[in-house]
Amino acid sequence: MKVIYIAPMKALCHERANDWQQKFAKLNLTCNELTGDTDYTQSSKIKSSNIIVTTPEKWDSTTRKWRDQKNLMKLICLLLIDEIHTVKEGSRGATLEVIVSRMKIVARECGHRNNNLRIVAVSATIPNLQDIGDWLCDSSGNPAQVRLFGEEYRPVQISKHVLSYPASTSKNPFQFEKSLDYRLFETLSAYSDGKPTLVVVHFNPVLLH
């Protein structure tokens, strides 16, 4: 039995792999990382491990010729996808889409005993979550169960304020940034109310209107 965990960043994969190696050692399950940083000589070790932590790109290149390693592929019973909202991001999203679709084909062609491949995906807020759920259907076509946890699930409620400061195009952007620094105190004292405050400055030319 194998579990595949796919996360978009190598750093996240590394963190997961380190954590799970310790935790799953108690159950005699091995966990290994398969990313662009992984040494080629470790490939046999990775093939034999129970949990494979990988990135979409690496998994794509590993499974492109999956028909040559059907014995390995049919052991996969659980596919965990972290941050599935990255599917909207250009070429990286396309890679993720390809591997999910490929894994669905794998599951259909060489399903493990009676078990089908289970897909569990976690995402940030997606407006059309149900579409993702329909896409991640099982081999008999039942759409995935969709759970949406909204704003009310924050342990500490956040009150949000968006302030816009239009920059004049003639101004130097560095100068503009500096001028924002001077507004910080004023902003904090207006909204923070003595409570912890996060200030996010998102400089986006598209939003400057």
Binding site: K26, D82, V120, A121, L136, Q145, E151, P155, H161
Partner: protein, 153 residues
Amino acid sequence: MSLFRLENQEFEIDWEQSDNDFIDYSHSYGRNSRNDLNEFSHFDSGAESSHFDNGLEHDFIEENPRYDYGIPNYPDISANRSSFLSTAHLDQRFASFFSFEYFNAVQSQSFDLMYHSTQNVVISCIGSLFSTYRQREDSIAGASDIKCTKNKP
């Protein structure tokens, strides 16, 4: 939003103390305390009797009926512990995976689905402030609770 980072982050917030309006604490504590776990014993015995050589090899999911844990639907998280599911509902071997005693609200709500079914699942969580920021467009349309202020340059 990562499921696993959620475990670490959200639970660290000390909701016992952070909120003034926690009431009903001693009463509601009993609901999830270990004394009450006897009613879930069918669940434990099913898993123990099964031979479990490689940890994942045996599928004990099918043997256990789905159980209503009595977790109220949101929103009640700041008030009492009965909104949360104890990690003791997990099999003993897995409970030690978690450094905390109770799952957070999101984990509690999705526990049954994740642990007792084999269906595919998509879980979406409100996450970073960045995604909040993206709602700005909604807020202009009046669909969000974010307050926008436009300043002069």
